[in-house]
């Protein structure tokens, strides 16, 4: 395995100072569940690993008024065990429960999952459906970015070389509480999604007051299907509407063919996943 140096700062400021000095020589690490395989495959060739797992201020899930704030060091297991998230954004828990396996979940972090920015990242679609905001910091500077603007392409984000993720936030509301996540994989565990969908819905008197649809593995990055959302807004729910929406979904996704599935299959199944998620959310209404 490649050689590298290792440091473990105790504070966020210390970590940011290291990033400022070392820039692209340094790589922020936490659980390492993705980082180590990448180092072994020589995809990642950092000279310095900055282990942030001892930085207390990056941990915890809090509620500040209407906002749920998730520390980037929150493990996937931590998400599953969070009463806050279960109450306010259960779509994220549904995704966390299908993430890898319990062993990986004990060390993998939500910050790492987002920073790695796989188009298939399991935490991305639910957070997009929650309209999450991601907090980025560098030494002396902070900026809040809509998560939908964070991803630029496969494994590419707007993170600058001296920046790190310091928080993920979403607003607690009717729509945040009513969500459904479905992941389609080639097996039940340890699967990279062939396609995944997160739908959050607010229905008033059988009309769609608001809907958010996010998908993974059907575009160069996790995406919101804003055209389909716009189409569905304020419409009365009936079977005809769902069938039309399925077509809109299939038009909006932009999948490729790879070893897991063909473009045609992904496009087709996107519509089916939308139908399943939507039906689950409107069952009984």
């Amino acid at each position: 395995m490649n050689q590298f140096k290792y440091v473990s700062p105790k504070t966020k400021d210390e970590a940011l100072r290291i990033l400022k000095e070392e820039k692209t020589n340094a790589c922020i690490v936490a659980g390492c569940s993705n980082v180590l395989p990448n180092i072994r495959d020589k995809i990642l060739n950092s000279k310095l690993l900055v282990d942030i797992t001892n930085i207390e201020e990056l941990k915890g899930i809090n509620q500040e008024k209407d906002k749920i704030c998730i520390g980037p060091l929150t493990t996937i297991t931590g998400l599953i065990n969070s009463e806050f998230i279960l109450k306010e954004g259960k779509v994220l828990i549904q995704a966390a429960e299908q993430f890898a396996d319990p062993l990986v979940r004990n060390t993998a972090t939500i910050g790492g999952n987002l920073a790695d920015a796989s188009p298939a990242a399991d935490s991305a679609a639910p957070l997009l459906a929650l309209d999450a905001v991601i907090k980025l910091e560098s030494a002396g500077q902070q900026r809040d970015i809509q998560l939908k603007d964070f991803f630029l392409g496969p494994e590419k984000t707007i993170l600058r070389e001296d920046e790190m993720i310091t928080g993920i936030e979403f607003e607690s509301s009717n729509i945040s509480k009513n969500g459904c996540f479905i992941k389609l994989g080639l097996r039940k565990a340890m699967a990279i999604a062939v396609a995944s969908i997160a739908v959050n819905l607010d229905v008033r008197e059988n009309k769609i007051a608001q809907v958010r649809i996010a998908m993974g593995s059907v575009a160069p990055m996790p995406i919101r299907l804003t055209a389909t959302e716009e189409f569905l807004k304020n419409k009365e729910i009936n079977n005809g509407l769902i069938e039309e929406a399925i077509n809109k979904v299939r038009e909006e996704v932009n999948p490729i063919s790879d070893i897991r599935a063909s473009e045609e299959y992904r496009r087709y199944i996107s519509g089916i996943l939308f139908k399943r998620a939507f039906k689950k959310l409107t069952l009984g209404s």
Binding site: Q3, F4, Y6, C32, P37, R40, P102, N106
Partner: protein, 159 residues
């Protein structure tokens, strides 16, 4: 490469070691501490053979840098039995034919003990879901699940 000094407790014993930044926990456990019950399977975190308990939680030692266990507590399969007295989970595995080649067994047993600590009465589906990161090529899993179920109902699990 700069050596990093780490102190930790493993199977109840305090250890102080110097490790390289890129040393993996599995290699330190196997090669420096000679605890070879921690098995190297896939090396990329997909088989679970390298499972150990870190502060009571099951994790993959092949995906853990040794430097990160400073100040923590590790339990390997060697730490379960008390002298000649097998841990109830070990007994259940043996009595139910849940061990064939034995390669997956340390990881299976450790993950299963963590499961019962968290959920003392799991359903079959809950067992299957929790154990899904540990793969077995020999048994077909039926006896493993039976062993875990038996351990949950029979034994006095008070850890």
């Amino acid at each position: 490469m700069k050596e990093i000094s780490i102190e930790f407790i493993i199977n109840g014993q305090k250890k102080k070691l110097s490790v390289k930044p890129n040393d993996l926990l599995i290699n330190v456990i196997r090669d420096d501490l000679f605890l070879t019950g921690d098995k190297y399977g896939c090396g990329i975190g997909e088989c679970g053979a390298c499972t150990v308990l870190l502060n009571g939680e099951p994790i993959l030692s092949c995906l853990t840098l040794a430097a990160t266990v400073d100040g923590k507590e590790i339990t390997t399969i060697e730490g379960l039995a008390e002298g000649d007295r097998l841990h109830p989970m070990q007994k259940a595995f043996l009595e139910n034919g849940a061990v064939q080649c034995g390669f997956c067994t340390p990881g299976m047993i450790l993950t299963a003990t963590a499961l019962l600590k968290e959920n003392p009465n799991p359903t079959e589906d809950e067992i299957k879901d929790y154990m899904r990161g540990n793969i077995c090529r020999c048994t077909g899993y039926v006896q493993i699940i039976k062993a875990i179920e038996e351990c949950a109902t029979k034994s006095k699990y008070d850890k």
